[in-house]
Amino acid sequence: MIIKYNERKMQPIKKKTIAIIILVLFSFPGLFAFENNFFTDDSKYDIFNSQVSLYSITNNPAFFKITFNENITKYSLTGSKKNNFIYREYSPKQEQNNNLEIITSKNLNSNSTIASVITYNQDIKFDMKHSLEKDFYSHYFSFSDTTTGDTKFAGPQLQFLFNHSLNDKIYLGIKGNYGIEQGLKDIYTQCETIARNFDVSIGGGFQSTDKSTVIGGFIRYSDRQDSYEAVKEYMDALVRTYVGYHIYRPEYSRSSNHKTDSQKGINYSLQFYKKIKNLKIILNGNYGYTTNNIETGSTSKPTNVAYWQREGNNYSSDFIYDFGDGKSSIRIGYDYKKTDDWAKNPEYNTVVIENEEIKNRINFGLFMTPNMLMKFSINGNIENVNQNYKEHINMFEYTSDHINFGTDLYFQMQLTDVLSLDINGGYGKFKPHFTWEIDSFNEINIGTGIERYFRFGFVKIEGNYTKYSPSDGEKNINEYQISLSLRK
């Protein structure tokens, strides 16, 4: 095989790159994640392109270079406040999030591209009743006490991507993600939470000479560990571990109660892309599973209270038709996602929780560039969700077969040579998790941003407002977000 690159020029880059890869891969064996989604959903790089792309659909690191080839750096500072005028029993009444993010992408040479996302995130949950978790309802085995207090979570996260083409046809990519987050509740039991994550994907792809066909695949390994320490409980601060949402195990009285949550996961994914004249077809298949061991008790004598396994697959097909010299496109897509959960009591080897969720979703979108000064897009989706959730200990069963839908609109206009304005809005209706005990939520969001070009880059200020109103009731949830960014 002939490797077409300037070896002398590549030398220093290679060392740095490989050093980072090795550091991420092997210096932290068994490391962990606090944002490891079951299926990767990586839209960070979409700042480069507002159209749906091969990378944004497949998340294969080998395809990054095929999709994006600009050098770019973006610094952004975002603050948001969420007022939960309705909330679930163990959810916060108010939430605040502050986020600092630096996104970079650089073409090292014609063969290699490197990209990174460095984030520092601060989440504050106000008046959170009982929960010692960041999100009580996203976990079947949540840790709780009997106090109400504010909890602050904060920590950095680093995402790194390296994409390299061996020749014009073969692409390789690696993407790593490492993060650490610490949380502290401001009232006894003063529960301290430490979440760490490690997530790495290695992918490969083949692109035909005429660039009309791309085939690829990747393997993703994720590893996450959450650790909780609740100290010095007394009468009003009993520590409990829930099994599902209706039943809990009281933890024994001791000076400190611990919980560890050790999750590991694997995804396998295959992709196919074909361009026939103006039509692009993207087929994507993904299979994965995670295993999760939950232990509670003291650090010296932990009890394995649960083993939770999630398995699922996700298949999607997207058809994108370009018109207007490729500056406009219309898209239709179908997405099938199935997740199966089961959890067992390791002591008795019996199933305690089962959940099956199937989503069939149709997406459609229109992206238009009527002239050099305007961009416009409209997207919509409709999905059928079928869920069957069972708690075996107290014989609870929930079944649902319902439809969600959503639409969004985006409009961008160049006001002057250096100034542009964008406006976005959306409306959707969805049935929330059954623990809400609400039939459906109406979601409305509206936002605007203004961007100005300076000699040092593009400065943008954005504002967003989102409101969730239940179908029955007057109270709502609203969220305000403001963001300042600099893009070079």
Partner: protein, 365 residues
């Protein structure tokens, strides 16, 4: 290091090795879920095993595995009680009642107690037997209540501890010269030792009448009003005795309440015990040489308590065959008291129960 195919293959293999360590489990064949418990009661006194006494005995089962699962039902005329469609868990069984016994010439009440854990391995058996202890065989001076957990508070206050003695015998008992001790893990290891005034064994200055309660306070102080503004804790100025260590210059000494004095040479601490785990001994005072522990023959009563069900039993079984207080919470205001005043089978697991609030000088209902 060259970024060639060889290195790529090595990196890929290492990656596959890392992810190859991950295994999936098979889903278990059985679901967790409901179960039935059928219990056959059986008295330790054969003559009581008749329909007359078997009928309508209240049986309680509860689990520490999960919340709010607590069931009470009564036996039928064959002494059988059934709990059906209850969540699958390990259950503690408890009977704490009394029966009216016909002695021929007169009727009298007799306390009955049973305690046990329903063994999940018994699932194959249709019926499990629960043995009922009748009466409580050991009479005499007993440690009847132990209040050590502290009142509800968030500043780690537990200084309102007290201990209650009860004379369950038919004769007057005397406290003269008796010792009350906190032990380490055995009657051979004394942690704190305090003594009543008077001459051991022969003194008759401090009598305890049959059926009388005696309260021994860590300090005879009104914590309820002085510290908690009447909202929590208790008034221990009503105590009959208080523990005082004259070498502890900060130790409160209520002049109106007589003292048990510390007899350990050089000891500066006042009498203070573990909130939810410890061992207490009441002995007749014939052996006060605490260096080698307390003579077993002198022990009048001993109790071990621990809040954790997985606690390893420490105290010699001839003093106490079990330990009480499983599930007791620190800073909860909970107290540990015998199920019936003076009820003593020699096993604190059976004899004691957790009550939500202390009962100073009387028995809970």
């Amino acid at each position: 290091m060259k970024f060639d195919n060889k290195n790529i293959i090595i990196l890929s293999l290492l990656f596959i090795m890392v992810i190859g360590c991950l295994n999936q489990d098979e889903i278990p064949q059985k679901n967790d879920g409901t179960m039935d418990i059928v219990l056959q009661t059986n008295f330790d006194i054969d003559s009581l095993n008749t329909k007359q006494y078997w009928t309508s005995l209240p049986v309680e089962i509860f689990t520490y595995n999960y919340n709010d699962y607590h069931y009470v039902d009564s036996t039928d005329s064959n002494g059988i009680v059934r709990f059906e469609n209850i969540p699958f868990a390990e259950y503690n069984i408890n009977i704490n009642s009394e029966i009216v016994v016909d002695y021929g010439t007169f009727l009298d009440t007799m306390p009955i107690v049973a305690s046990g854990v329903y063994n999940l391995n018994n699932m194959t058996d249709s019926v499990s037997t629960i043995e009922i202890l009748s009466g409580g065989s050991n009479k005499g001076l007993k440690i009847n209540e132990i209040y050590t957990a502290g009142p509800p508070n968030n500043f780690f206050f537990f200084y309102d501890q007290y201990f209650e003695l009860y004379n369950s015998s038919d004769e007057v008992k005397y406290l003269d010269g008796m010792i009350f001790c906190r032990m380490w893990t055995s009657i051979l290891e004394v942690t704190s030792i305090f003594q009543f005034p008077g001459i051991p064994l022969t003194g008759t200055e401090y009598p305890v009448e049959p059926g009388e309660f005696v309260v021994l306070a860590q300090d005879a102080y009104n914590y309820k009003d002085e510290i908690f503004n009447g909202k929590a804790s208790i008034d221990l100025t009503v105590a009959d005795w208080e523990f005082v260590n004259s070498l502890d210059f900060g130790d409160w000494d209520n002049p109106d309440v007589p003292n048990l004095e510390c007899i350990e040479v050089g000891e500066h601490r006042e009498f203070m015990v573990g909130l939810t785990m410890d061992i207490l001994i009441l002995a007749d005072g014939s052996d006060v040489n605490y260096i080698d522990g307390v003579d077993s023959m002198s022990v009048v009563d001993g109790v071990e308590y621990a809040s954790s069900a997985t606690h390893t039993k420490d105290l010699e079984s001839y003093v106490d065959r079990g330990f009480g207080g499983v599930g007791q919470q620190k800073y909860s205001g909970q107290s540990l008291e015998r199920k019936v005043a003076g009820f003593d089978t020699g096993n604190s697991t059976i004899d004691f129960e957790i009550i939500s609030a202390p009962t100073i000088g009387y028995q809970h209902e």
